[in-house]
């Protein structure tokens, strides 16, 4: 994709103006460059320019052993490391036919949901900033820190956990971690109501979000959107329910869907997802089975020739890993489906027709992580 725009703001003969937002700009949530063509206050066209964070994760994956793939996936979608690890671990397990102990399945779901809330909290904090609200960021960070404490107590890291590996997970839940989770659950629902009153209940914000950046049902599906962005448009597709992995077939949770597919719906769906995720965490902590957390595996995995696709529901949508094995210690091809990439395509479609002032808000509303887009 080459930019239609020049390097800087440029006047054209038609009186239209081209703004270059990014590649380094606080509102693009990482390194994304948007060439936005405007006519007065209105956006005429928008084009995303990628490649500012291309680190060759897929190519490096071809030179890593199967055990090491989660390490790379961690740094792909860095806001939801557990989900990236899980997708790659599931793919390896499917290729080699590894039986995962039941407790590992439950821990994967548990940590996945905690990570989902943490990721949504980061989105919530930055989304408000895009809308021009500052103080609620500190409240979202208060909850996020509590979640990062839990993740640190279980995995040893606040981000890039390297926790889920092919064959299970590396560590069991400790007593300290469990009490931290319970303490978090005691207050979280009340905190969420507080967030909802604070930002979602704000009439000014509602006025800015309603009817802006509408993606209807059909175009959401044809664009390949997944996750909260798709569900906001009214399509109840959730990988956790439709293609269950980990312990999700035994867990109860609702799938919030929107009606119009505007920015407000996307906001509400994510808030409700956090509530459902807390519900799953509660079930996981109550129903956690006993036993081992890691299957016995040889040092080097050599799956037979073949290929597989495994997907998980990451906070941003369907995160899938496609692996092609050739019988050696390293995969022949390692590819992953990044849900944010499709959200950027949706962004290009929803920006024209809106006001320039809403551009940052809409970029925030689709919740993209350029790290996973650019690989």
């Amino acid at each position: 994709m080459s930019p239609r725009a020049a390097e800087h703001v440029e006047h054209t003969a038609t009186g239209r103006m081209v703004f270059d937002v990014g590649s380094q700009h606080p509102s693009t949530h990482g390194l994304l460059r948007l060439a936005i063509e405007t006519d007065g206050e209105e956006i005429v066209s928008a084009e995303a320019c990628l490649g500012f964070l291309h680190r060759g994760i897929e190519k490096l994956g071809e030179h890593r052993r199967y055990h090491q793939l989660p390490t790379l996936m961690d740094r792909g979608d860095y806001l939801s490391g557990i989900h990236g690890e899980l997708a790659s671990a599931l793919a390896v397990e499917r290729l080699r036919g590894i039986e995962v102990p039941p407790k590992a399945h439950w821990l994967r779901s548990l940590l996945g949901e905690i990570n989902r809330i943490a990721s949504h909290m980061a989105w919530y904090g930055t989304f408000g900033r895009d809308a021009g609200v500052t103080s609620h960021f500190f409240y979202s960070m208060r909850d996020r820190e509590a979640l990062l404490d839990i993740l640190e107590a279980v995995t040893g890291q606040r981000m890039t956990f390297n926790y889920v590996r092919p064959g299970g997970v590396i560590a069991d839940l400790t007593v300290v971690a469990e009490s931290k989770i319970r303490r978090f659950l005691r207050t979280f629902d009340a905190h969420l109501d507080e967030h909802q009153t604070f930002l979602g209940g704000n009439e000014l914000l509602q006025k800015r979000l309603r009817g802006v950046g509408v993606i209807d049902r059909d175009s959401a599906m044809s664009l390949g959107l997944t996750g909260a962005n798709l569900r906001a448009s009214g399509v109840p597709y959730d990988v956790r329910r439709d293609r269950p992995y980990a312990a999700y077939s035994e867990l109860e949770f609702g799938i919030p869907i929107g009606t119009t597919g505007d920015a407000m719906d996307r906001y509400l769906v994510r808030i409700e997802e956090m509530r459902q995720a807390a519900r799953i965490v509660r079930q996981c902590i109550e129903g956690l089975p006993e036993g081992a957390v890691m299957a016995k595996l040889p040092k080097a995995l050599r799956p037979r020739e073949g290929e597989t696709y495994a997907c998980v529901e990451s906070p941003r949508g369907e995160l899938g890993v496609h692996l092609v094995a050739d019988g050696s210690e390293t995969p022949r091809r390692f590819h992953y489906r990044a849900p944010s990439l499709f959200a950027i395509a949706a962004l290009e479609q929803m920006l024209p027709g809106t006001l320039l002032a809403d551009a940052a808000l809409l970029v925030g509303s689709v919740d993209i992580v350029p790290g996973e887009v650019e690989r």
Partner: protein, 167 residues
């Protein structure tokens, strides 16, 4: 310097002009944040949050390069981004400092085998403080800013010592 131990209402402090400037500089480090990848989340976003609250050290994030004293590079920089990085650094006015957050910004990190990745931002701009970690904890970044303040303080002393020796 006595100025660091707070100046009361009726007290008086005699300082050299450049000492005063450096004191002000190191206690109000405005940063242009070049948060590219993971380090930007844990090293910068959480650091600006309520638990670590870097603002109390006078460090302010998200400032335009033209106003900033420090450039914080957090995350992997590839060849395409390196051009922007250089451009932003050139826009900053002197005196300016650069902090490299994390393994990627320091050396290329886990991606250093890939030819598109710049092997540390010191190949593009001079770096003052390197922070290890993948990603570093917010405390490490906090410590890095304390080290940077120390570095600025030492620069003042070295400058006046050099002048003393010369005269």
């Amino acid at each position: 310097m006595a100025l660091d131990r707070s100046v009361g209402e009726h007290s008086l402090a005699f300082v050299k002009r450049e000492q005063l400037f450096d004191w002000a500089r190191r206690n109000s480090l405005w940063c242009t944040t070049l948060g590219t990848a993971c380090c930007a989340i844990d090293g910068l976003m959480n650091l600006g949050g309520p638990r670590f609250d870097i603002d109390r050290m006078g460090v302010l994030f998200g400032v335009s390069p033209r106003q900033a004293d420090v450039m914080v590079v957090a995350g992997t920089v590839n060849r395409k981004m390196a051009e922007t990085l250089k451009l932003l650094y050139d826009q900053m006015s002197e005196p300016r400092w650069v902090v490299a957050v994390g393994a990627c910004a320091s050396t290329g990190g886990p991606f250093r085998e890939y030819p598109n990745v710049v092997l540390g931002v010191d190949r593009v701009v001079p770096v003052d403080v390197y922070i290890p970690g993948c990603p570093p904890r917010p405390e490490s970044v906090q410590y890095a800013f304390m080290q940077l303040q120390e570095k600025i303080r030492r620069q003042t002393e070295e400058r006046s010592a050099a002048r003393r020796d010369g005269s």
